[in-house]
Amino acid sequence: MAPRLIPAHRPETPLTAGLPGPWTAIAIAIVLAAYPLLMRELGEDFYITLGSRVLILALAASALNLALGYGGMISLGHAAFLGAGAYTVAALAGQGINSAWIAVPAAVAIAGLAAFLVGAVSLRTKGVYFIMITLAFAQLFYYLAVSLPVFGGDDGLQLTERSNVPGIKLENDLAFYYFVLFTAGLAFVLLYRLVSSRFGRALLAIRENERRVAAVGYPVFRLKLMAFTLSGGLAGLAGALLANLSMGVTPHTLAWQQSGLLMVMVVIGGSGYFWGGITGAAIFLLLEEAVSTHTEHWNLVLGVLLLIIVMVAPNGVMSLRERVISQFRRKSTQ
């Protein structure tokens, strides 16, 4: 038996940088729980709904981050899984099935199944080919939704009411916010466990050097497929919430621009950082909101702002933390 050495300092590496600290999570949870109450006090109910929207897209971006940031699978087709979740909820509602206990798990299952099938084919390719084939699959879903009458064509599907949760009226925007917070919170706890588990470490290792991971005996393809499936399932969960927020779904949710937006959010926030998806979604949506109330040409202004962010923090906003810490260390040793 080799002696155990207890090191003074373990350097932060890509393996540990992607893992969250529990105190940050608790602080964020408290802030998010207090936020709508503050907005109600201020009489700004609109911002409660905006908060729900940020949380839902934060979940969708974090789902993509699992595949893209942790697994190194650059998917340009995640709108398909978001849309699969949203369409499942809307289609079930059209059949008179409004119970959240049925609709939400069904949305996750359908989106997960779609991701499993797409992944089983796409993950046999690498690099640009993977990007293109995921995009192609997403377009396939898009045209399916547009052309099939059961999915409402260009108009999509409307909800007459939000999903039913016994004892809670989700029509109330405050109640809906807490429903979203609770659901997304559960998903983040799951993600947290996932990325700090044996599976999570294997996934990070695959991103760093796939060939070596295979050589030491991991079933790389199956691990990536599992990550892609879970990522798709979580995106489907976000889609189910999104359909409830918007009271329906249009093919726009499935469009490639939506996949691109999710990717922009992950890149801004920090791909491969636990809070990357959340940070990116919050920055993007809040900037969009702030700029669009002031000018008609908000797209241009937003584009410039995003460009500045990416130039200041090419590895995402979450990577700034390490940079600040390492600069502080350098100064203190000088």
């Binding site: 038996m1 080799a2 002696p3 155990r4 050495l5 090191p7 300092h9 373990r10 350097p11 590496t13 890509p14 393996l15 893992l19 466990r193 996932l194 700090s196 588990s197 044996r198 599976f199 999570g200 470490r201 294997a202 290792a205 760093e208 050097n209 060939r211 070596r212 991971v213 295979a214 050589a215 030491v216 005996g217 991991y218 079933p219 790389v220 199956r222 691990l223 599992m226």
Partner: protein
């Protein structure tokens, strides 16, 4: 002789090129079996076929009597065959400890365990420390691999394969790019494996090969033309003509 590995009439074609041509080989349990041959003889291709990275067109690979010809890499590692790389293939942004931990974790299975946390898993930590000790890297556990010297990276390359606790190690030019001192140290590490592991050693450094190997096989154009003790191989006229002779010619030409 108690063979651990039987290679029977193995073939690998890349389009019209036959890289491995009716290759047959027997490796005895516990020996260091060197595989030598001129550039382009197909040594690396054969190694990739043995490890499972390349599928074979025909022929059989029997490991401990079991046909592994169609098994994927992970199943072969689980059975006890692990390779190392000629071009260092490490997680260069991770520490030595993290590199070895990834390899040890693979050995302990539970690939789809999404709940148990890996932080502070003592089985993994101990396994990593053990592997580090066996290649002399115990005092560098927290160093980021990209900052290590080439020689240390080569040692870790061997450590990664050892961390899988293989019965059969497939070493692809472990001395590649090392200076004489590092090469000597790597030789000592490989020498220490004798008995505990069976080793197939692909190596260009002839001094190391003749010093370390129990037996040597000579690969020419994807075919084993001779197998025997180092002295016998050195004296074999066919080998001298096909391989060592070539090297002499090259030296003269240069």
């Amino acid at each position: 002789m108690n063979p651990i590995l039987h290679v029977e009439h193995l073939v690998k074609r890349f389009g019209g090129l036959v890289a491995t041509n009716d290759c047959s080989l027997e490796v005895a349990s516990g020996e260091i079996h060197a595989l030598i041959g001129p550039n382009g003889a197909g040594k690396t291709t054969l190694l990739a076929q043995l490890s499972g990275e390349l599928a074979s067109n025909s022929g059989r690979i029997l490991f401990q009597g079991r046909d592994v010809t169609r098994l994927p890499v992970d199943k072969r590692v689980a059975a006890g065959m692990t390779r190392s790389y000629q071009i260092t293939t490490l997680f260069s942004k991770l520490t030595v400890r993290e590199n070895l931990a990834v390899a040890v974790q693979a050995r302990t299975g539970r690939f789809f365990d999404v709940f148990g946390t890996v932080a502070g898993d003592s089985d993994i930590e101990d396994g990593a420390a053990q592997a580090a000790e066996s290649v002399g890297l115990l005092d560098m556990m927290e160093r980021v691999v990209g900052t290590l010297s080439h020689g240390k990276q080569r040692a870790l390359e061997l450590g990664m394969a050892l961390a899988c606790k293989p019965k059969l190690l497939l070493l692809d030019e472990p001395m590649a790019g090392t200076d004489p001192e590092e090469s000597q140290r790597m030789g000592d590490l490989i020498h220490a494996l004798r008995g505990e592991h069976t080793v197939i050693l692909v190596e260009h450094d002839m001094d190391a090969v003749f010093r370390l190997a129990d037996r040597v096989s000579v690969l020419v154009a994807g075919h084993v033309i001779a197998t025997g003790a180092p002295e016998a191989i050195r004296a074999n006229p066919e080998v001298v003509k096909a391989y060592l002779g070539d090297e002499e010619d090259e030296k003269e030409a240069a």
